[in-house]
Amino acid sequence: MPAFGNSSRSHTASLDLAPDTSAPRWTHRNDTDPWYDTFPWWGVIVAVVLVVLGLLVAFNEGYNIAFDRIIPGLWLTVKATVYSFVISCVIGMVIALARTSQNVVARNLARSYVELIRGIPILVLIFTIALVIVPSVSDALGQPNRVPQEWRAIIALSLIYAGYIAEIFRAGIQSVDRGQIEAGRSLGLSRRETTRSIVLPQAIRAVVPPLGNDFIAILKDTSLLSVLGVLELTQRGRQYASGSFKFRDSYLALTFIYLTLTVVLSLLLGVVERRLSQDRKGAR
């Protein structure tokens, strides 16, 4: 499977709990290898960190209070993640189709969008979109200041990730063999019908793993929305910390919550990926 062009985005790298294929190529693994050579020690370490933090949150009163103060932000974190992911998938698909289309104008507009988004730090984009672009647009529409802060945050994250996800879809579309398109066209299917019935279904299968990674990346990047003052997890953590000066309790509880979410999502993604690759091997 080709890498889907997100290697340059270190901020989106998520825990990889999928089967480990990163072993050095020159080590030939077989039954004679000692078990401790292949055992996923890193997983144990992550699990230990998680359990220790979990125990602290469960039994230490300080952490317990911090957790209780922060956890109401979970709802907004999840909401922002899911909405942003869905919206950016829709916009990203449109941009990817434009980027791979025959139309010069569409292709170049799509490319500029992607390059602009990728050329600006996420934090800067969040400020710019939420505090400049969204207000100007709503002004221009004759509805000044009608967009609540929460939605400005979601719109910002959606527009940012639309650029990243567009690249994933583009790579997926271009990973479909040329022969597939030729076969479709040679049967008399139109370009549009070929894209719809033949290219996209295959492209979408190919991009499930990188899309899953970006879902987790969005979840983590919702913490950046705290700069807008919306009461998601990180903002609640910051508020509690600055009010109580209990930085350790606040930020370790916050760490525990995020790590739990990303580990669970990574595990789920690993299951989905394994199922997809079994599909490809024909174990239906």
Binding site: R185, S197, I198
Partner: protein
């Protein structure tokens, strides 16, 4: 009889330097089986791919069933539905079952109902000898079976002509025969076929006419016996001497 396919002065260049096809003319009658042979890089696949406009010719005219497919306003989708194409790499749709592979274009292009399309699909699958694979996915089939499904997929559209682009070149040796047998049956049934292949045995058995192409031009054409056994041109003779020696 009016020719089904009429090619006049066909040229195809790729970029500035590669002149793959340099002025090819041929008329193919309905029911005729034409086999194109030639060394690799001679332009034989390019000629075939021009016939259904997968490659757009640089110059020249192609008429299929009386219509100029090279005209700027030609309806290529309609023309391609009448022109079946079988590829070297099969190009089955991996996300669809065998049955859905064969019904997709019937339903979208021919506007047949699901039931109609499935009946036709099963008829063609039976014809190529693997009706029991209807519910399988392409990856569960052998190469020979996949290619037979690809043939069935094209046949289900009811094409006027079938184009074969090295249909057995990607197959393991033991699967070549099952595909050639299907093609031979098809030829006997009167299908118009244009076949690019290295299978000289098939050419002898099925071809009405063999065309030898080299460096983008048709060097000579004639009956299989004439081309294989009594070639007029030195280039043709040299080619067959090379490949038939063993």
């Amino acid at each position: 009889m009016l020719p089904l396919i009429e090619v006049t002065n066909l040229h195809k260049t790729f970029g500035k330097d590669i002149h793959a096809v340099r002025g090819v003319d041929i008329e193919i009658a309905p029911g005729e089986v034409v086999v194109i042979v030639g060394p690799s890089g001679s332009g034989k696949s390019t000629v075939l791919r021009c016939l259904n406009m997968l490659e757009i010719p640089t110059e020249g005219a192609i008429r299929i069933d009386g219509e100029y497919v090279t005209a700027p306003d030609a309806n290529l989708d309609r023309m391609r539905a009448e022109t079946g194409m079988v590829f070297q790499q099969f190009n089955l749709f991996p996300h669809l079952t065998v049955l859905d592979n064969i019904t997709l274009a019937q339903r979208k292009v021919r506007k047949r109902s699901k039931e109609e399309a499935e009946v036709e699909a099963m008829r063609q699958l039976t014809r190529v000898g693997i009706p029991e694979k209807a519910g399988s996915y392409p990856r569960q089939l052998s190469g020979g079976q996949q290619q037979r499904v690809a043939i069935a997929r094209s046949l289900a559209m009811g094409p006027k002509v079938m184009l074969f682009d090295e249909p057995t070149s990607a197959l393991d040796p033991e699967m070549v025969k099952e595909v050639l047998d299907v093609m031979l049956e098809l030829a006997k049934a009167g299908m118009t076929m244009v076949v690019v292949t290295h299978e000289m045995g098939f050419a002898r058995a099925a071809a009405d006419r063999v065309v030898f192409i080299d460096e983008g031009v048709f060097v000579e054409m004639g009956t299989p016996d004439q081309i294989f056994d009594h070639p007029r041109e030195a280039r043709t003779k040299a080619f067959f001497d090379k490949i038939l020696q063993h």
